[in-house]
């Protein structure tokens, strides 16, 4: 077992008369093996040999059973697929690994990031959106950073 500690701070000093400040942190028990590898992928890459853009297949990944809940970190790098040219406009859709609008519906603009606990396969109906996770380009292809941590 390994421990992952995510910490989030949100601050806004100019929306209300009083500044907004939120901070959250938690210790997560995750699997050390197979977790934590940060990958930089293009939206049409096939890093899991499960189809273009599939980051977490329905069948699980790297020995992590599909029934495991997974903590996901993903960031739009703001870079085109050459890995160096800045892209300030193109967005990325993050959905479950099956087609359709149901389930996860995250849109990352350049430099935006997300961190969330993706529900385990045991909680997901394959008749609906099936679980897993995938990315899709909206227009031009871009690079994202991605890491996952399976709950023990």
């Amino acid at each position: 077992m390994a421990t992952l500690t995510p910490t989030l701070t949100l601050t806004c000093n100019d929306l209300f008369s009083s500044p907004t400040s939120v901070s959250a942190s938690v210790s997560l028990a995750v699997s050390g093996a197979g977790s934590g590898n940060i990958q930089r992928v293009a939206c049409d890459d096939n890093p899991q040999a499960a189809g273009a853009g599939v980051l977490i297949p329905l069948s699980g990944v790297l020995g992590i059973a599909a029934a495991k809940k997974t903590f996901v970190y993903i960031k739009h790098t703001g870079l085109e697929v050459d890995g160096s040219t800045a892209d300030a406009t193109d967005t990325v859709l993050i959905r479950n690994a099956t087609a359709g609008e149901e389930g996860i519906n995250i849109t990352l603009a350049p430099n935006e990031f997300a961190f969330f606990p993706l529900a385990a396969g045991i909680h997901i109906s394959t008749a609906e959106f099936g679980g897993g996770l995938s990315i899709t380009k909206v227009a031009a292809n871009v690079m994202v950073d991605f890491a996952y941590f399976a709950q023990t």
């Binding site: 390994a2 421990t3 992952l4 701070t9 934590g36 849109t107 990031f113 890491a147």
Partner: protein, 137 residues
């Protein structure tokens, strides 16, 4: 116009992961004038457990545009699941699973609603159990 600054760090030791994990990312989100800002703490239950209860709605795609969502399970013991309908009565259609103390941050597309439930009937009520903040962007 205002600016919301968000910073996320992920840390883990080399002993646990083989290599130390030290991810730190920041972003500045511009909040345009006239956009919605929501900050709530709600009670979450399961719809089959309480008469006339419906899952509390976190995000309304019909009335809000793309948003940055921060959500945290602040209950001491109950699990909370995010689902897409007010009438979701089973565990089969959840997409996020927040255990006590866990949180999430994500920019949500204005396509699907978000509701919360404690899961299967009998899971119990998470009174004042879910905190969330939404900034329309």
């Amino acid at each position: 116009m205002a600016t919301l600054n968000s910073t996320l760090t992920l840390t883990g030791t080399a002993a646990d992961f083989g290599n130390a994990i030290a991810i730190s990312v920041s972003d500045a989100t511009v909040l345009a004038a006239g956009k919605a800002v929501v900050h709530k703490i709600v009670t979450v239950d399961h719809i089959a457990a309480v008469t006339n209860f419906t899952n509390p709605q976190i995000f309304d795609a019909g009335n809000m545009g793309r948003c940055l969502v921060y959500i945290k399970n602040i209950h001491g013991s109950k699990e909370i699941f995010l689902v897409e309908t007010a009438a979701e009565a089973v565990d089969g259609d959840v997409f996020m699973h927040l255990e006590p103390g866990e949180f999430a941050i994500f920019p949500w597309a204005a396509v699907m609603d978000i509701f919360a439930t404690t899961g299967a009937d009998g899971a119990g009520q998470a009174e004042s159990g879910l905190e969330y903040m939404i900034w329309e962007i």
